[in-house]
């Protein structure tokens, strides 16, 4: 018959109230844990995907859209730029490497990216099976694409026009899988890479079947026969020198019909935009937790009133004042521990469930089997606040006078 045993017996004697207190606390913890997991993994993922690229040069329009479409591969591009027009930028002395990106088609929701071998180097990607693409209509697929669709070298795949899963297919122009990339933990795992000439080829000779203006279809590569020039969607630039960060974007924006956008800047802006909503939810969760702490306080205080004779009795049996305080504290801490454990389980479970759902749609993965850096602080703050809340009734228990209580009885 330990203090904890007795505390558990008191909690079990009021199952509904105990459950409600634990649930209130758990929901606050779960919301905060979920938001921490979501934001930390989103920030980490955005940073990892954006890190290899210093600057993106593409069509004028929204710089955020340009970055989202060509670096994170989650939005439709603004438009295209002429290949010839982009060449002076590629050859600029401040540019270490310029990787072309030609978008327009997809394979079962995965972007088909027309590019060259420098794309692999940009993300430090290695071919895990087979070889890198060399000729038109050859593709290498990212590890996630290969895993989800069980692709191996030698497989044939049919691309769809547009970036949505339901675009019209290029049935007459199958791609041949010649390689599968080793996992990198970056966006490249979810891409299908092919020489940029493949994209031109598909649109030059056959064009898409069906409606090319269907939703989700990007302003894709226009064949030379239709526009008279070769186009790409963007150039992914790596600087040769840090000073380029100050000069090159200005040069592009001021002296060409293209725009330059920085992935680091735009992803920070994106996080700021998302951050407003996240902060609101965080405040909401914090208020929920404060309410839960208050409810635990009220529960302990009223429980103390209800069982003041029990406490007096325990004193008559030889329990010391500190023992009674420990009993009250044990009751509160049990509620806290249960609330925190349940909250973390709910938060991580929700993150994992969302991650599984996002993975089905080919979006970036979110894992519940991870520990956000702020979670340790969250747990510490909840325990510190909770224990501070429990201390008041614990001190009341400590100060209770058994003789006067028993005399009143």
């Amino acid at each position: 018959m330990t203090t904890l045993h007795l505390a558990l017996a008191y909690l079990a004697a009021r199952p509904l109230a105990t459950l409600l207190h634990v649930l209130m606390l758990a929901l606050g913890v779960a919301t905060l844990a979920f938001l921490m997991l979501f934001t930390s993994q989103a920030e980490e993922r955005l940073a990892r995907d954006a890190k290899p690229v210093d600057l993106v040069v593409g069509a004028k329009g929204s710089p955020l859209q340009l970055i989202l479409s060509t670096v994170f591969h989650v939005d439709v591009p603004n438009g295209n730029i002429g290949l010839e027009e982009s060449k002076p930028i590629s050859r600029h002395p401040m540019v270490a490497s310029a990787t072309p990106v030609a978008l327009g088609d997809s394979y079962r929701g995965h972007r088909i990216v027309g590019t060259d071998e420098s794309f692999l180097a940009l993300y430090d990607a290695k071919v895990g099976a087979g070889r890198a693409f060399k000729d038109e209509m050859e593709v290498v697929v990212g590890s996630e694409v290969a895993r989800r669709h069980q692709l191996a070298p030698g497989a044939k795949i049919i691309g769809s026009h547009g970036l949505a899963q339901s675009g019209p297919g290029h049935d007459d122009d199958p791609f041949e899988v010649v390689g599968v990339l080793a996992p990198t933990g970056t966006v490249i795992d979810r891409l299908v890479l092919t020489p940029v000439e493949s994209v031109w080829h598909v649109h030059e000779h056959h064009g898409p079947k069906g409606d090319a203006t269907a939703p989700g279809i990007a302003p894709a590569m226009r064949p030379p026969s239709q526009g008279g020039r070769l186009e790409i969607t963007a150039l992914l630039i790596k600087y040769r020198t840090p000073i380029a960060a100050a000069q090159l974007p200005r040069l592009v924006n001021a002296s060409t019909a293209m725009q330059a956008a920085s992935p680091a800047y735009e992803s920070a802006r994106l996080l700021d935009l998302v951050g407003v909503g996240v902060q609101t939810l965080q405040w909401f969760a914090a208020v929920m937790m404060a309410s839960a702490a208050l409810s635990v306080f009220v529960a302990l205080t009223s429980a103390l009133q209800e069982r003041r004779y029990d406490l007096a009795l325990l004193r008559t049996l030889g329990a010391r004042p500190l023992g009674l305080a420990a009993l009250t504290l044990a009751e509160g801490v049990t509620l806290l521990v249960a609330g925190v454990i349940l909250g973390l389980a709910l938060g991580h479970g929700a993150a994992h469930a969302l991650g599984l759902w996002l993975a089905q749609s080919g979006s970036w993965p979110l894992s519940g089997f991870a520990w956000a850096p702020g979670e340790a602080i969250l747990v510490a703050v909840v325990f510190a606040g909770g224990i501070a809340t429990c201390l008041v009734p614990a001190v009341q228990a400590y100060l209770s006078d058994p003789a006067s209580l028993l005399a009143k009885r």
Partner: protein, 225 residues
């Protein structure tokens, strides 16, 4: 205010009284609510503290148990001074030497009868001894209640459990505060018989405080307040 009706004799063999009270006085708001100039209770005897409500009976028992600190005077239990001890030492002495039966038969309702008795063992610093618990419950005729939640007991059953808890550690001194005042005649007689029998069985000294004149004649040793 107080008169000792029967001056007890010390137990032959040289052992001192189980309970010694000297010059005990307790004031509340400047008013003296208890005064016991001298009272000794010999070992193994059953004594009665008799008086009307408000006469200080509970205050006296609380002072003997170390739950209240008297304004002046001394109390010695089994040769050890209760008065003057620091609170933790008083708690330890009470847990070790005193079994209490309270006026309201108060038990911890959310745990079982057995757990109530284990709690008494643990708070006295003794290891859990289920054999002893079973023995006491059997002696009191409530062996079948060991697993019952204390809050589900009848008044009579709770009375027996309270007695079981008071004697389970074989304390040398048992204090009972109004153990019969809420009971009808039949149950009063039963409860008292059990209390006396258990005290006798464990060789404990018994002090019963009551205003219940029905039990007056059962005690040779009496202190009237």
């Amino acid at each position: 205010m107080t008169r000792a009706l029967d001056r007890p004799e010390a137990v032959p063999g040289g052992a001192g009284p189980m309970l010694e009270i000297r010059g005990l006085r307790h004031q509340y708001d400047g008013r003296t609510v208890l005064s016991v100039p001298e009272w000794d209770v010999p070992r193994g005897e059953a004594s009665l503290v008799l008086g009307p409500s408000g006469s200080g009976k509970s205050t006296l028992l609380n002072a003997i148990a170390g739950l209240a600190t008297p304004t002046e005077g001394s109390i010695r239990i089994d040769g050890e001074a209760m008065t003057g001890l620091a609170p933790p030492a008083r708690d330890a002495l009470r847990a070790r030497r005193i079994g209490l039966v309270l006026q309201t038969l108060h038990l911890i309702g959310v745990v079982t009868v057995r757990e109530n008795l284990r709690l008494a063992q643990r708070l006295a610093g003794l290891p859990a001894n289920d054999a002893r618990i079973d023995e006491v419950l059997a002696n009191l005729g409530i062996a079948e209640l060991a697993g019952a939640k204390a809050r589900n007991l009848s008044v009579g059953e709770a009375q027996r459990v309270a007695i079981a808890r008071a004697v389970v550690n074989r304390p040398p001194l048992i204090l009972a505060d109004e153990p019969t005042s809420a009971l009808d005649d039949a149950n009063c007689e039963k409860a008292l018989a059990l209390l006396l029998a258990q005290a006798k069985a464990t060789g404990a000294t018994l002090v019963v405080a009551t205003h219940d004149n029905r039990i007056r004649e059962r005690f040779a040793q009496r202190l009237e307040l």
